[in-house]
């Protein structure tokens, strides 16, 4: 879910673009399939974190069956809150010198 929100953070995207963005950003570690992607999109849409965008690329550039999704304000704040939570966890882990090896490297 977080990955999808992140994928939309810098602009509207259609489904396939979200899937590609997530795969690229995570080095193919998070691979979404059509089913899981749209299952999550439906959930995010229902809870109001994303919405369908009315804006579309100019006629002809657009594949007709594509819908574009964008992050809502609520979605953005949820993503920020999650990122902050992770950041806090990370800095606590650092304070405890959890990553001794990587730190020195």
């Amino acid at each position: 879910m977080f990955h999808i929100l992140l994928a939309l953070a810098d602009g509207e995207r259609h489904g396939y673009a979200i899937l590609k963005e997530v795969a690229m950003r995570t080095d193919d570690k998070v691979r979404l399939s059509a089913g899981t992607l749209y299952g999550n999109l439906a959930r995010l849409e229902a809870s109001g974190m994303i919405s369908e965008s009315g804006n579309r690329p100019a006629f002809g550039l657009d594949d007709e069956r594509r819908r574009y999704y964008r992050l809502t304000e609520f979605g953005r704040s949820v993503a920020v809150a999650e990122a902050q939570r992770m950041e806090a966890a990370l800095s606590q882990a650092r304070a405890k010198h959890l990553f001794r090896k990587t730190e020195t490297a």
Binding site: Y16, L32, S33, A34, G35, G39, R66
Partner: protein, 888 residues
Amino acid sequence: MNATKSNGGSRSQKIFRFILRLLPFDFRTNYEREMAGVFHQQHREAEKQGGAIGLVKLWLETIGGIFRTAPREHWEILRQDCGYAFRMMAKNKGFTAIAVLTLALGIGANTAIFSVVHSVLLSPLPYRQGQQLIYIRQQARKANVDDIGFSVPEIMDYRGQNETLSSLVEYHVMSFTLFGHGDPDRVKTAVVSWNYFEMFGVKPILGRTFTPKDDEIGAPAVLVLTNEYWRDKFGADPKVVGKTFEMNDRVHTVVGVLPPIPQYPLETDVFMPTSACPYRSADSHIKHREMRMMEVFGRLKPGVTLGQAQADLSTIAARLESQYPKFYPANIGYGVSASSLKENLTHDAQPTLLVLLGAATFVLLIACANVANLTLSRMARRERELAVRTALGAGRSRLLRQLLTESLILAFIGGVIGLLLAYDSLELLTKFAARLSPRASEIRIDAGVLLFTVLAALGTAIVFGTVSALFSHANLTSGLKEGTAGSGVNRSRNRMRSVLIVSQVAFSFMLLIGAGLMLRSLFKMLNVNPGFQTQHVLAMRVNVNWSKYGSPDQYALFAKKLVEKIQAQPAVLSAAVSSSYPLEPEILAGGPNSNGFQVKGEPLAPGQAPPIADTVFITPDFFSTLGVPLLSGRVFANTDDAKAPPVVIVNEAMQHRFWPSSNPIGQQISFDDGEHWRQVVGVVGDVHDLGLDHVPDLQAYEPVLQNGGVGTLVVRTAIADPLVMAHQLTRAILDVDPTTAVSGILSLDAARSDSVSTPRTTASLLGVFGALALLIATAGIGGIMALTVSQRVHEIGIRIALGAQPSRVLYMILGHGVGLALLGVAIGLVGALGLTGLAKSLLFEVTPTDPVTYFAVALVFVSAALLAGYLPARRAAAIDPIEALRCE
């Protein structure tokens, strides 16, 4: 190259879209195209980059993803729908209560009746390989006697000569008095072959059953207790085996206790081997081919069909017929017949139970129609809500799915309550079914019945859910364009509601016809003049310790002393001892004491079967105690004893048959092939001894003082409820002989009423079903009329404004309701004429097309429709045209 690629692509698209079907419809409508697009691109990419391995990986991921997503999405929808449904139900408490109650009654009635049908008719006998068990009868077909019983020599012949049975056992029931355990106890004793239990596959829970040695004449007498008797009388004492009791002047040792098994064909207390029964082991029975009193069961050898066994047994019958022409005269139509034990135990119950199951199904259908109707009218109010939701993007199928969820929830709540109702009525139904089949003790609600209830609830939900969903379907699009297109939709929905009402009326009509016919049949039975008077008479069985009484003289003495003692009691008007009394439960269950006889001067042609009379032994005051009219001659006197010439009293039917124009008094008849002749001294009225619906046949009465035959005591009292004298009379009997066991004390009124309990219960069940149906249908008519009036306020207002008389408006609306009812009655009439033929065997002196019943029931329906339509019609007639038009 390109072509094959796109081919492969389109095939995988097809497969992908096929898998997508796992997802909920709405999800698919929303995302299917996009998902297909995404998959298409992934597919192309995987093909380009990873080749075959990449494709396999993609497919695995894709399928896995859908399999993970689908249940979540479905569950989510179900959760929403249930939540929504419960909120709706809470908001419409009245609707919910009526719908649930209607469904509960419908499903409950079906579950209850089905539990009986399931246990009695459908499930296999609870014995090892129950389908191999058969019941064998000897018949006198030309004399219309279905079951003449078996004698010992005949049992030996059939057992020794058959080639199709692995075993053949005999059975008869006797009542003996058991001493050594509190008061003398009268025990119903089944006398059976030693391998009886082995054949049925019954193993004792304590001790043993019988061995071949027990069956030898002169073997020490042994008993096996039934589970019920062991629990009731011995408190389930585990040390009962080895205990001894005195019975028939012999010591009997308990050797075993049976498990709790249903007992066919009769419930008994104990079992004994044939050697222990003083009658069965006597020479008179062992040597005489015509001493028939046993029943016979058999088990088919593996692989043998009933037909083969029948052929085999018929061969033996033919052989016996030619071997012993004296015992099997040609014109009695001697034959033997084998039927499956299950069929034999259930065929009496079948018509009644199937009629009741049919009736219960009707009730459920009516309940479905009613709930569908309620849902439709609620739908009218929800139309805007549903239309708004459609407009906001909820798919139509999503809404239908939600309606079905609501129906399912209603049906399942109804089902659970119905199950409780059924569970509650089980005891009553078991009692009822016990009169129809010995299998009644097996009735319970088991997994099969539960499955039936679940299916009934499911079917119910689908039936009424679909009807309501189909008709909301038409409305969803037009719901917002209210007022304009809405009226057309209203019309189609009203038409549907009318169809539902008409079908409710039709089904209710059929049910009420059934109930009406049964009721009329019951009244005819109750109005039969039984030939005796039941009021104020108390009857009981007097089981003398027969081993104390050797000769008829001793019985006669006991009877005389007993009658004197009883007649000396306060409030006793008269009393008599007899071998049985009319409508006695034991006679109804076990049949009368029938004897062949001949009339002096009318010798039988060689091979001609003698006429048969039901014979009762009585003391002099029998007729006055029961109020049986003496038509000519005299009743017996105390002087008609063993020293006096043998006498007999006959009934009217006998006089008509043998002496239609001459005086029967002084004529002579013989019950023993002319060895002794009895002189007819009196003629009495016919008595319905075998059931109110049973036309009395030839009946003969002989004096107890000449023949013995002490079985029952009948007492006419001066008290309205003679039962209050039961204790006093029992004490008096024990004063005369303390070793007597008294049982079956009941008033003759009760005996008469009990004798019609089966038709009464059937009639009341059908009546309850029918009344329920009538109520539901009437409420339905009232409801639709009210709705019609409220929808037609404008039109009626205009009519009244234009000068229509209020009374005309009243008649118009009433006519509408009555029209619906009449249409339903007409359809129900056709159905009833077709169906009631099936119930013919349950009716007494009423034809299935009895015009009185049909007319009365139709009248009830029309009056109900008038009543239901009256309030809405009055409201219509009172419409103020100005008000009505201002509403516009």
